[in-house]
Amino acid sequence: MSDDTDDELVARYLGGDQDAFASLYARYRAPLYRYFLRQVGREVVDDLYQEVWMKTIRRLNSYQPEGRFQAYLYKIAHSVLMDEHKRSARRPVSEDGAVERLVDGEAPLEESVGDEELRSMLYARILELPVNQREVWLLRQETDLSLKDIADLTDATVEGVKSRLRYASDKLKAGMRRHVRA
């Protein structure tokens, strides 16, 4: 992995160094992918993820090297995500039947659930969060953006972001508490 800063990689890439982009891409590919994966249906994740990178590549010429590439990338991602929400409201989807079974309450609450089920259940709970709470919670988990950065890119105040994080965390805990054996 390159030790260069994001801005240095961007500059090298704009100078024609393709390896620099590969290094930059490697830094953010997985977190950015999960940012979408945990918020929209699997059927559109790849498209949205690619759209963000295509827009980023297209606009790099206008990027101001101020050490904020990550914020720049996620600002584009946020915009793509909002467009997707406008296009279609996504129903919470689960990745396996166990989640639906748990969510529907068909499984005894005291039943111990395995790690896999618990993980799937967490993802389902995340999908059930209100859009604005879900996004800031995921940005907090997947990036090292500051609260100020998150507030800026989601058009919220820092206090608003804090509030959303608190509500999101409380709801996730409450949702999980039902399924974790005491």
């Binding site: 992918y33 690619q50 990178w53 790099l60 296009r87 995340i126 965390s169 805990k173 999980m176």
Partner: protein, 301 residues
């Protein structure tokens, strides 16, 4: 002060310990290839095409096919649900969509008979031979409207508002009908590929709406999106009318990726026949087809 409860679930910790998902290899490949291509043509100098990997193109083709299929399904399912072989379109000798502005009254009045050819030739036979189905499609497409396009009803997706839209654009592309539900509001969006020739979005809210509040939210959203939109303007709410009903309207203009987009927003509350709901209609005002769709909206049909 009690310490942390060991049995208390920790979603942040659980999430952090399960961060495994990554983009598929072929997606990585497509993006890196696009980045490589951009360095060869000069990053940002030329819009990157949607030229991704073959899989992505294939998915695109499939998506287009799916749109056609869905459109055709809506078309035929509507046909099959009607009993008679000849159905008179919602006859309205005078359809009027009036957008009034105190300073600049813009009025669209349609006084001519404009029968909507929905389900004009219909068979109940669900085992329609492909050739026959094709022939029926062609018969329905006989130019019965001023736009010489086949119109179809998609409004049964919104019981409170019957929506008629051309099934295709003038160039023959399928009009995409997109529906969704969000927070109890149901949305039907008819749009063409260019997002101009056909662009009408109808949202039915589950109850009466605070127009000022929804307008403010919409305005903030549009003006805040500085990534996709180079510039944007939103006019203040004005008084207007939609089919005789009091409405509020705003005109939006924005530039994105070298194109200029215009949208007219109409907001109104409907309290009739025991129903009470809010309605938002968004259209591209530059296309006559869109005004025709708005004129044909049948509220509480």
């Amino acid at each position: 002060m009690s310490g942390p409860d060991r049995n208390e679930p920790d979603p942040e910790l659980m999430y952090a310990s399960n961060r495994q998902d990554e983009p598929p290899t072929e997606v990585d490949g497509a993006i890196l290839a696009a980045a490589k291509e951009a360095t060869q043509i000069g990053v940002g100098e030329k819009p990157l095409p949607g030229r991704l990997n073959p899989r992505a193109r294939w998915i695109g083709a499939l998506a287009s096919a799916a749109v056609v299929l869905v459109t055709a399904s809506v078309f035929f399912s509507r046909q099959i649900s009607v009993e008679e072989t000849t159905v008179t379109a919602p006859a309205r000798t005078e359809m009027r969509a009036k957008i009034a502005d105190e300073a600049d009254i813009e009025e669209v009045v349609v006084t001519a008979e404009r029968p909507v050819p929905t389900a004009a030739y219909i068979s109940e036979d669900r085992s329609v031979e492909p050739e026959l189905a094709s022939a029926q499609m062609q018969r329905v497409a006989v130019p019965l409207t001023v736009t010489e396009q086949a119109w179809t009803e998609v409004g049964n997706l919104l019981p409170e508002v019957s929506v008629h839209s051309p099934a295709t654009t003038r160039s023959g592309d399928a009009v995409i009908i997109d529906t969704s539900t969000m927070s109890g509001a149901r949305r039907m969006h008819a749009l063409s590929r260019d997002r101009t020739e056909v662009y009408v979005e109808v949202v039915v809210y589950p109850s009466l709406i605070d127009v000022e509040e929804i307008y403010a939210e919409q305005k903030a959203f549009i003006l805040a999106d500085t990534v996709n939109k180079v510039s944007a303007s939103v006019t203040p709410l004005e008084n207007g009318k939609l089919q005789g009903r009091d409405a509020r309207l705003s005109r939006v203009s924005f530039e994105s990726e070298g194109e200029t987009f215009e949208r007219t927003f109409l907001f109104l509350n409907v309290e009739e026949q025991g129903a009470a709901f809010g309605l938002r209609v968004v259209l591209d005002p530059r296309s006559e087809t869109n005004w025709q769709i708005v004129e044909r909206l049948a509220i509480l049909p």
